[in-house]
Symmetry: C2
Subunit: 161 residues, 2 copies
DNA sequence: TATTGTTATACTCTATAACTATA
DNA sequence: TATAGTTATAGAGTATAACAATA
């Protein structure tokens, strides 16, 4: 018995395992930190996106976050119902919606973004500050490597936030 | 317009965003690499686990990988149908199953584990070897920090692989 | 004819609860 | 009574397809 075939077969060292569990833990911490503000991590992502300089259209926002447009509709429905964003038809192209943060949306954004950062610090707690920064940079390099910023609109997209 | 509120609000720098997208890319690479062997990444995880020194029971295996026992049943059903594992009742406690790799299971494990490692190298390609190693270690420290190895059997479990 | 937002539907994944057989 | 494995059901999350308005 005990036929271990070398350290290469340790499941809990696989990169996929590590990423999945790290992400799951991050999700848990986000949920905990954001609960008081009645937004979830993905909704906060949308708020952050709208606060930036690239609101343009719903579809653009959807691609930017990596969800399809029907999911974005649902996300914005929720946020609009909570009074955090407003939608109105674009004057220049009336097929499009201009989506903007409301005043409460901006307040919620500020408060929940801060809580979200605390959650990230909590995940990184076991690392010293330098390693934490390295981790962020390494992940950023990996993610931007194949998916250059705001890629091809026609490219098939996989789920994410 | 263009009311950007500082770099702290860049969605694509959020840790959750980075982890989710890195994991999604890893999943894509695994799927691509493992397709020829007719196993997916999670099934390979089970094969690796069984090859190790801790097969004991299905429930033990399930906890180890972070899925619940009903999902493990389904996973093993699939693997058994493919002829990669065998199940037989444990002589000492006939409620339990002893799960073992078949000969083909071992062959498939070797080949697909190797392909899986290539997929991981592909994800890490944009990093130099040292940074890649740092990334693995940092993630491992984060993941093992709150979830010490083979935790409490009664603890509620969240999805993962 | 193509595109945006929307709605409705179907599908995948996973957890929950209920059943059996053993202990 | 409690536990391992199994089965059936239900729920969340997401993608696919179809539709209306506009370009």
């Amino acid at each position: 018995m005990s036929n271990d075939s070398g350290p290469g077969l340790d499941v809990s060292r696989r990169l996929g395992y590590l990423l999945k569990h790290a992400q799951a833990e991050m999700a848990r911490l986000y949920a905990e930190a954001l609960a008081p503000y009645d937004v979830d991590a993905r909704e906060l992502g949308v708020l952050m996106l709208l606060a930036g300089h690239e609101p343009s259209s719903q579809q653009h926002a959807a691609r930017r976050i990596g969800v399809d447009r029907t999911t974005m509709v649902m996300l914005l429905d929720t946020l609009e119902a909570k009074g955090l964003v407003s939608r109105r038809p674009d004057a220049e192209d009336r097929r499009r919606n201009v989506v903007e943060l409301t005043a409460t949306g901006q307040d919620t954004l500020r408060a929940s973004a801060s809580a979200s950062e605390a959650a990230e610090r909590a995940l990184l707690a076991p690392l010293d500050p330098q390693d934490a920064q390295h981790l962020r940079e390494a992940l950023h390099r990996i993610v931007t490597h194949r998916a250059p910023a705001d890629a091809d609109p026609h490219a098939p997209r996989r789920a994410a936030t």
